[in-house]
Amino acid sequence: MTGRALDWLLAIAGGVLLTLMTLSNAVLARHTDALWASWAAHGLGAVVALVLVLTIARRKPAPGQNTGSGARTRTPLWYYLGGIPGALVVILSAVAVNSELALAGTIALMLTGQMVFGTAADHLGLLHIPRRRVTGTDLAVAGCVLAGSVLIVLGGA
């Protein structure tokens, strides 16, 4: 299997993990509330991630192993703060879900926002990521997946 195919499968597997996470976090939120559920999930996630580092990833990767782009410079502080926008989503999405948008509308718009951001980030090289040319095929793929996802979300079970 080529490295590219493996990356594809890993990314899709990541999406499956995300579904499983959402499923259990929803149970937790039903018994408590969304904010507390997210807090507990972050706490437990921190412990689990730490255990993973100590057991299977003790060695730090060699600098520039993954991208080789300017890895010799110091790591900017904001590289460590990805958890803040992630946690903010928990609070803001609770507000949106309670509006007229309801759950389905909120999720559909959140997926759209993600796609637009991903496209803009690649095209413009936002947040220090290397610029990538966005091809017509890339846009068609994103369009199909987004349209299909919105149908799934709005289509009910």
Binding site: G15, T19, A41, V48, A49, N66, A96, L151, I152
Partner: protein
């Protein structure tokens, strides 16, 4: 209404930003350390919010299995941080979302023991079509090249 639409869109942007930043950190510190930082920083932030709001729910009768989300979350952030810089923000987002919605349909099917509604099946077909588009276009291009081998450089 427009406010909430923009808010929901902004949420998507924040998710994208969070995953991209974690991906950047993974190129320096590794995917698993990126997952630790994501969760620790998020935990500190949410603790501050909880302290300000002072809302502590009753947590006595929560099934233990409900806490499994933390495990999935830790693995997800590690996997996602690994693939984001390798695939690019757009492709990685597209693939993660595909895996997310397809597995959600499958889990709903198993839990409710029914086939998905037609509109959902159409959605699944569209997602699968989107994922196979690069293959299809590559094959079409190959055929074109084969048709006129003299023009091949």
């Amino acid at each position: 209404m427009l406010f909430f639409v923009l808010l929901a869109l902004l949420n998507g942007v924040l998710i994208g930003a969070s995953r991209t930043i974690n991906g950047q950190l993974s190129t320096r510190a590794g995917a698993f350390r990126a997952s630790v930082w994501n969760h620790v920083v998020g935990l500190v932030f949410l603790s501050a919010v909880l302290l300000v709001l002072r809302t502590w729910p009753d947590v006595t009768d929560v099934p233990v299995a409900a806490y499994a989300g933390g495990v999935f979350g830790a693995l997800f952030v590690a996997v996602n941080s690994y693939v984001f810089p390798r695939l690019g923000a757009m492709s990685a987002s597209v693939l993660v979302i595909s895996g997310q919605v397809l597995s959600a349909v499958l889990i709903d099917c198993v839990q409710q023991r029914t086939l998905p509604a037609p509109i959902r099946l159409a959605g699944v077909a569209l997602v699968l079509l989107g994922l196979s588009l690069p293959r299809i276009t590559a094959r079409l291009r190959q055929k074109e090249i084969q048709k006129c081998p003299t023009e091949q450089k």
